[in-house]
């Protein structure tokens, strides 16, 4: 890459990698957009990201603005989704909560994917002792409920975003490894991996160039399920008091403060519940649509076109 470009072809291919990636990303997004479920997922996730960013600089009311004379208000022009038990604006709290939830989802999925891939690498390792040992270890660890891990982590860490990310990332990473294991084994024992090794590829290179891309469909779906479950787990753990600390806005926080009054003021529970549901559905659909759109074997638009354009 560092060599001086000396002609047209060299220049074209030297910048080819990032441009090719952008082009492929464009094709993937257009393919997802073309399908109803993919479009729904893209719109919801796009709106989520947008609202998170906007909430950093603007919300209809300050989330700290309370009013003891105006609690549990019904939706009105001033308070679009009404107010909660302190008289604070529900809509503003949900807006502000979206950024916390986005952060939790992103960090949890990143941690789960990194941890899960490390486990998959161990599972397909050629050191048989390591491979067999990790199967047993994963099966043993997977039996520990995520909530229990979170409760144990909350002892030293207190209620915090870190607890949710670590507990969920750990649990979902184990899950990802166990779900991805069969297809990873299939790839690891394939002739193309043997061929790569016969060409002198090292174990890490075989893993990242040949195994991971070929199990990507499983990884994408598993990560999107993890993302959806992370939203639900945030709500659950925050309700139990080991999730997001009180005072930090999150959808789980909005739910847990109003859920006790569900029989009296059902609407204040409905809004965060609805948002959590829509977000989880969108995340799961996003994974499905991405899996289909990003696989060159199922998406003909990802292949060929490039070659024809260059010839």
């Amino acid at each position: 890459m560092t060599d001086t470009p000396n002609n047209g072809t060299t220049t074209a291919s030297a910048t080819g990698a990032p441009r090719g990636f952008m082009r492929r990303a464009g094709v993937v997004i257009r393919t997802m957009w073309a399908r109803g479920t993919g479009r729904f997922a893209l719109i919801v996730l796009g709106a989520w990201i947008l609202v998170s960013l906007v909430s950093l600089v603007w919300t209809p009311h300050s989330i700290w603005q309370t009013n003891g004379y105006h609690v549990w208000a019904r939706p009105s022009a001033d308070h679009w989704l009404g107010t909660d038990g302190t008289g604070a604006d529900v809509f503003s709290w949900l807006m502000a909560g979206s950024r916390t939830n986005l952060l939790i989802v992103v960090l949890t999925v990143l941690f789960a994917a990194a941890f899960g891939l490390l486990l998959v690498a161990m599972l397909v390792s050629r050191h048989t002792a390591l491979a067999h040992g990790s199967v047993v270890a994963i099966d043993a660890l997977i039996s520990i409920p995520t909530v229990l891990i979170a409760l144990m982590l909350a002892v030293p860490l207190g209620a915090s975003v870190t607890v949710i990310v670590l507990a969920c990332g750990f649990g979902y990473g184990l899950n990802l490894a166990r779900v991805a294991r069969p297809s990873a084994m299939l790839a690891a024992r394939s002739m193309y991996v043997e061929s790569a090794r016969a060409n002198g590829a090292s174990a890490p290179r075989v893993f990242f160039t040949h195994i991971v891309p070929n199990i990507m469909p499983v990884l994408i779906v598993q990560c999107s399920l993890s993302a959806g479950t992370a939203v639900l787990a945030e709500a659950g753990l925050t309700y139990l008091g080991v999730g997001v600390p009180s005072g930090v806005p999150s959808w789980g926080h909005s739910l847990s403060t109003s859920v006790r009054f569900i029989n009296i003021y059902p609407l204040t529970v409905l809004w965060p519940g609805l948002i959590v549901t829509i977000a989880v559905v969108a995340l799961n659909l996003f994974g499905d649509a991405l899996r289909e759109a990003a696989d060159p074997l199922t998406n003909p638009r990802l292949r060929g076109a490039d070659g024809r354009r260059h010839q």
Binding site: T10, A14, E194, N199, S202
Partner: protein, 270 residues
Amino acid sequence: MGVVINDLNVAVSGTPILDGVHLDVRDGQRVGLVGPSGSGKSMISRAIMGLLPPTATCTGSIALNGRQLVGLPDAELAALRGAAVGMVFQNPGTALNPLLTVGRQIALPLELHYDVSAGEREERVRAMMHKVGLADDLYKRHPHELSGGQQQRVGIATALITSPRLIIADEPTTALDSMTQRHIVDLLVSLVDEAGAALLFITHDFSVLAHATQYCYVLDAGHIVEQGRTSALLDAPRTPQASTLVSAARALTLHADTTSTEGTSTGGRR
């Protein structure tokens, strides 16, 4: 130079697979290795590549261009694989990573062993594609868009891109139809001869063997039972194992061989 194997013993989980194998492939030589399924043919190629299963034990000597391979650490073996030894696989459809384009696939050994710029790499890959008879517009195609013959051409291009001194072809034509077989063997032979490299051709197909090799070894249950010039061995096998193989192959392949010649004259390559 080439590869010289002396008294090679390989056992997998205690079961002996190869027993005292002697085998020589010199530069510029095309050597066949035949034997029934399960006789240990592929184990010899794996031993040369240093790709024996983790539970295998290996004793004896494998000298590649004068360098002892048995007991070499894996990192040093990996530096030789794909650079000093190229390998063509049996089933081209599964030996190519389904997600890599033809261009990237062929470039893999170059990426691993040589520090060349992306532009130069592409130039070399395109030159190699031209050599093995792959059209230029296949560069950005994926393996599943190719025919079996084209896929095996990609396999050959990948094996030869680094100009290795030894090429091991492990039943490279078994998965192809008889007409394509002939083209692939012709291509392999001409490229190996042009490079002056050594070829170890593993097969159980005698019609291909006569065509591709000058000398050959017959392997049976882990022992080399017979060796000699390919034509002589096919005409008059001396050992019962070899004559069984030859007569069985003759009954099966002579018919296929005549039809494949006719096919070539009328059909031509795709």
